[in-house]
Symmetry: C2
DNA sequence: ATGTATGCAAAACATTTGCACCTGG
DNA sequence: CCAGGTGCAAATGTTTTGCATACAT
């Protein structure tokens, strides 16, 4: 659970908007939110806020390693708290729900592939798009 | 090697801009091009062309399965001819060069992961970002 | 002919930036 | 107090769309 100390460690003043955004990302039911999602959540909780600030703060948090930005298909970026352990994502094309997973075998093979190509891997992302379980079973997902 | 027949099969008239774009994508030295790349290439070969048309045609080609669109990091989409066989990508963050690879073990694990989660996979993308061999060896890549 | 495509300009988005005002330490 | 942060509005960059004209069949 991050707090104002983590912000200071990152060289960022513990301002109200930043603390608020941190809280939203930590307590969100959906761990993966767009900048707009965060912005709306701030407004909803009666907070003065500008969308530009949300973007600025999220970008700073990303640089500080506090959050991770993902570019899934569909144009808008989504952000999630960085929990320290790498994982990949499955995204439901029906309800947009995001599922996390980690497969050591895949991670290992990726390392090998990069190495064999003389490639210095900095980061990697694996996205699986499809239809989630809820959609299959009930004809629709939570969101749709 | 696709031609006007493939366009007709896709329900698209064999117009000059479409044939030209098809040719550019097939013969490009760099298999992965942005819409702007294609547009500039058309102008360079003395073709009347609008960027909007390039986007429209590429989108139609994608829908027809003729080309594949990728959303790498960095905002702009890149397109490549669909050669029929799925592959993943390594992108050099220095020179933007794109390398293709295919690892059966990874493909297999992905299928398993999705299956175990009750997920009906429609597509998947694996992107490795890092520094390519040329960059490591010569201090710079072709493009930079 | 005639339904489609095209080019241009304007619109639509997501995201970033300039700037005057505000605020945390 | 004062550097850094914020909100707002305007700018940016990419992709999409409306519309009158041009083209393939």
């Amino acid at each position: 659970m991050k707090d104002s100390n983590d912000l200071k460690k990152a060289g960022l003043k513990a301002t109200l908007p930043r603390l608020k955004i941190l809280g939203i990302l930590e307590n969100a039911k959906t761990r993966h939110m767009t900048a707009e999602d965060v912005y709306k959540s701030m407004l909803a909780s009666g907070e003065e806020a500008g969308l530009a600030t949300v973007y600025r703060v999220l970008t700073q948090f990303e640089a500080a390693g506090l959050v991770i930005r993902h570019n899934f298909e569909g144009g808008r970026a989504v952000f999630e708290m960085n929990q320290g352990h790498h994982h990949d994502h499955m995204v439901c094309v029906e309800c947009n729900k995001v599922f996390e997973f980690n497969d050591p075998a895949i991670e290992d093979r990726q390392r090998r592939v990069a190495e064999k190509a003389g490639f210095v891997m900095e980061e990697h992302s694996l996205h699986i798009y499809g239809m989630c379980d809820g959609m299959k079973k009930h004809g629709k997902c939570s969101k749709k």
